[in-house]
C-alpha cells in the first residue's frame, strides 16, 4: 500500500515539477528585468513582448505537436517564409490569399506526413528537404524583404481590444486550444504514438492517418505564424522563417517537450518562447553589449535542457529502485 501510494504520488508529482521549472526560470528573468528597469512592469511593455513573441509562439506550438508524436518538422520556417512572401506579392482579395496560404501550409504538412509514413524516411531529412524547397519557392515570389501587406490585415494584427493588444487574446486562445487538443481523441493518439508507436499500433490507432493529421496541423500553425508576422510587420520577408526553425524546436524543448516524443505541452512552448524573448531585454537593461545576447541564449538553452534531462534521469532511476 505504501509503495503504491509513493508510486502514485510520483506519477502525480513528476509532470508538475518538470512543468514548473521553465515557469520559475521565466519568473526569475522577469523579476531581474523589473529590478533593472522598473518601467518594464507596464501593460504597454508586456503588450509589445506579446506582439513580439506571437509568431514564434505559433511556430513552436505546431512544432510541439510534431515533437510529442515523436517526429520533428524543420519545414515550419519554409512555410512561414512562403506565407509572408505570398501575402506580400499576391494582389488578390486578402481573404482569398489568406485561405490560399493556409491551404498551402496544410498541403505541405500532408506531403511531409505522406513521405515520412508511406516511404518510411526519417522526418528530419524529409522536412529539411522541404524547408530547402520552400525557401527557394518563397524567393521566387519575393526576391528581397519588402512588398505590401493588405492594410486591413495590418490594422487587425496591430489592433487593441479594451486597451489590450490582440496578441494577448490570441495567446490565451492558443492555451485554451491546447487544453481542448490535449483532452481530445487527437491529443490522446498523439501522446500514444509518441510514447510507443508499436504499442499505439497494437491498440488499434491508425498511425498513418494520425501522423498526417499532426503534420497538417503543424503546417497550418506555421502558415498562421507567417500571416501574423506579415500582418504585424506590414511587409513580407522570404527568409524570416530560417532563423525561427531551430528556435521553435528550442522553445518547445525548454518548455519541457521531449525530443524523443510522448511528453510536452504548448503552454510550455509558449513559456519557452518568452524566455528567449526576455533574455535579450534583460541583457540590454543590464548594460551588456548586444553582441553577448546570442552567447547567453545558447548557454541558457543548454543549461535548461541539461537540468530538465538530468532531473528526469534521476527521477527514472529512483522509479526503477522502487519497482
Amino acid at each position: 500500500m505504501n509503495i503504491l501510494n509513493s508510486v502514485q504520488a510520483k506519477k502525480i508529482l513528476k509532470p508538475k515539477w518538470s512543468n514548473l521549472m521553465p515557469v520559475l526560470i521565466l519568473i526569475a528573468l522577469f523579476i531581474i528585468m523589473v529590478i533593472l528597469q522598473p518601467k518594464t512592469f507596464s501593460l504597454y511593455y508586456i503588450g509589445i513582448k506579446f506582439d513580439n513573441a506571437l509568431p514564434l509562439m505559433f511556430l513552436a506550438a505546431g512544432q510541439t505537436l510534431v515533437l510529442i508524436s515523436g517526429g520533428i518538422d524543420l519545414s515550419v520556417g519554409g512555410v512561414m517564409s512562403l506565407t509572408t512572401s505570398m501575402l506580400a506579392t499576391m494582389q488578390l482579395n486578402p481573404i482569398i490569399v489568406i485561405l490560399l496560404t493556409l491551404m498551402m501550409g496544410i498541403a505541405v504538412g500532408i506531403i511531409n506526413g505522406l513521405i515520412i509514413e508511406k516511404l518510411n524516411i526519417q522526418p528530419i531529412i524529409v522536412t529539411l528537404g522541404m524547408w530547402t524547397i520552400l525557401g527557394g519557392v518563397s524567393f521566387l515570389f519575393l526576391d528581397m524583404d519588402g512588398g505590401v501587406i493588405n492594410d486591413t490585415l495590418h490594422s487587425v494584427m496591430t489592433s487593441k481590444i479594451l486597451n489590450i493588444p490582440l496578441s494577448f487574446y490570441l495567446t490565451a486562445g492558443l492555451v485554451i486550444l491546447w487544453y481542448l487538443i490535449k483532452n481530445s481523441r487527437f491529443g490522446y493518439t498523439m501522446f500514444a504514438i509518441g510514447s510507443n508507436e508499436k504499442a499505439a499500433y497494437c491498440t488499434g490507432i491508425n498511425i498513418f492517418a494520425s501522423k498526417i493529421k499532426i503534420y497538417a496541423v503543424c503546417g497550418l500553425f506555421s502558415a498562421l505564424a507567417g500571416i501574423i508576422y506579415a500582418g504585424q510587420i506590414g511587409s513580407g520577408s522570404p527568409s524570416v522563417g530560417n532563423n525561427n526553425i531551430l528556435l521553435s524546436v528550442a522553445a518547445a524543448v525548454i518548455g519541457g517537450t521531449s525530443l524523443s516524443g510522448g511528453r510536452g505541452s504548448i503552454t510550455g512552448a509558449i513559456i519557452g518562447v518568452f524566455i528567449f524573448k526576455i533574455i535579450s531585454d534583460v541583457l540590454l537593461f543590464a548594460g551588456i553589449p548586444s553582441f553577448w545576447v546570442q552567447l547567453f541564449q545558447g548557454i541558457i538553452l543548454i543549461v535548461c535542457v541539461a537540468l530538465s534531462s538530468l532531473y528526469s534521469s534521476i527521477k527514472s532511476r529512483a522509479g526503477e529502485q522502487i519497482d
Binding site: 531529412i125 524567393f139 524546436v249 553582441f291 545558447g298
Partner: protein, 318 residues
C-alpha cells in the same frame, strides 16, 4: 578463380550504394565538362577540388558523429569561430602562424568536447546541444569582433592552401591525410567497430562492456577538430574571415553524409560514401550555377535531390 570472382562480387554488392554514388558523381562531372564549356578544366578544376576538400573534411567529421547516432549542427558556428579567431590572433601577418593554428584547433576541439560531454553525460539531445553550442560560438565570434566584420588571412596560409599555379593545393593533401586517418581509425582499430556498435544500439553496447559515452565524446571531439581544420582551409581559400562564413556549410554536410548512404539514425555510414556524396553535391552546385539558374531555383533543386536521394537509398526498416 571462382573464389576470386566471388570475392569481387561480394565486395561490389557490399559497397553497391557507394559505387553507385561515385558513378553518379563521375557521370555528372563528364556531363558538365561536355555541356558547359570551361567547366572542370584548368583553373576551374582546382576550384572544384578546393570546394570538395573543404566540404569533404567537414562532412567526414559529420559522418563520425552521425554513425554514433548523433548529429552536429554546430558546424556553422564552429567554422566561423575558428576562422575569425585565427585571423584575429594572426592579424593577417605571417608570424607564428603554425602556433596559432594549433591554438585554434584546440579551441575547436574543445567546442566538440563540450558538445560530447553534454550529450553523453548530461543526456542532452544532440540536436539541441549542438544547436545551443552553435549559438554560443556565434555569440563568441560577435563578442570577439565587437562590431567589426572580420579579418584577413596571412599570405603564407593562402599560398599553402591554394598551392602554386600548377602544384597540388595543400588543402588536397590535408584532405587525403585525414581520409587515410579515418580509414585507419574505422577499419583497423577497435574504436571503429565500437563506433558502429554504439550507433546501432547504445544500450547493448553498454552491456557488452563498451564505454559508449567515451566513444561518443571522441566522435564529437574529432568532429570539432575537423571543423576547425575546414575553417582554417576556408580562410586560406577566401583570404579573409567574416561573420556568417560558415552558415552555408551545416546542412550540406548532412546532405553529403545522407547521399553517401548513411542512416541518420546511426549505426551505418561510410566515409568513402560521404566523399562520394560530397563530390555529387559540389558537382551539382557547380552544374546548376553554370547553367545560369538563379539561386532560388538551385535551392529548390537541391531540396528535391535530397528527398529523392533518400527515397531511392536502400535503408533498413525503422
Amino acid at each position: 578463380m571462382n573464389k576470386l570472382i566471388n570475392a569481387v562480387k561480394n565486395t561490389i554488392l557490399r559497397y553497391k550504394t557507394i559505387l553507385v554514388a561515385y558513378l553518379i558523381g563521375i557521370i555528372l562531372y563528364i556531363t558538365c565538362v561536355i555541356v558547359i564549356p570551361g567547366f572542370g578544366i584548368g583553373s576551374h578544376f582546382k576550384v572544384l577540388v578546393l570546394e570538395i576538400c573543404i566540404l569533404g573534411i567537414l562532412s567526414l567529421g559529420q559522418t563520425l558523429v552521425i554513425i554514433s547516432g548523433g548529429i552536429d549542427l554546430s558546424i556553422a558556428g564552429n567554422l566561423t569561430c575558428t576562422a575569425v579567431l585565427f585571423t584575429y590572433l594572426s592579424g593577417g601577418k605571417n608570424g607564428n602562424v603554425w602556433f596559432i593554428i594549433l591554438i585554434v584547433l584546440i579551441v575547436s576541439s574543445a567546442a566538440g568536447l563540450i558538445n560530447g560531454l553534454g550529450i553523453a553525460y548530461f543526456k542532452i539531445p544532440p540536436l539541441i546541444m549542438t544547436l545551443g553550442m552553435n549559438s554560443v560560438l556565434i555569440g563568441f565570434v560577435l563578442v570577439l569582433l565587437g562590431g567589426q566584420t572580420g579579418g584577413y588571412s596571412p599570405p603564407i596560409l593562402s599560398q599553402t592552401i591554394m598551392g602554386s599555379n600548377r602544384g597540388i593545393p595543400g588543402a588536397a593533401i590535408i584532405f587525403i591525410i585525414i581520409t587515410i586517418f579515418i580509414t585507419f581509425l574505422l577499419s583497423k582499430t577497435t574504436i571503429g567497430r565500437k563506433l558502429y556498435f554504439v550507433g546501432s544500439n547504445e544500450n547493448i553496447a553498454d552491456f557488452s562492456g563498451i564505454k559508449s559515452k567515451n566513444i561518443k565524446v571522441l566522435t564529437y571531439i574529432l568532429g570539432g577538430l575537423f571543423t576547425g581544420i575546414g575553417g582554417i582551409i576556408l580562410v586560406g581559400r577566401l583570404g579573409q574571415s567574416y561573420l556568417g562564413m560558415g552558415d552555408s556549410y551545416t546542412f550540406p554536410t548532412v546532405i553529403a553524409v545522407v547521399l553517401g548512404g548513411a542512416s541518420i539514425m546511426g549505426g551505418s555510414g561510410n566515409f568513402l560514401g560521404t566523399i562520394a556524396g560530397t563530390i555529387i553535391f559540389i558537382m551539382l552546385k557547380g552544374f546548376l550555377s553554370a547553367l545560369g539558374l538563379t539561386l532560388p531555383i538551385q535551392q529548390i533543386i537541391n531540396g528535391f535531390i535530397l528527398v529523392v536521394a533518400v527515397i531511392l537509398m536502400p535503408r533498413s526498416k525503422r
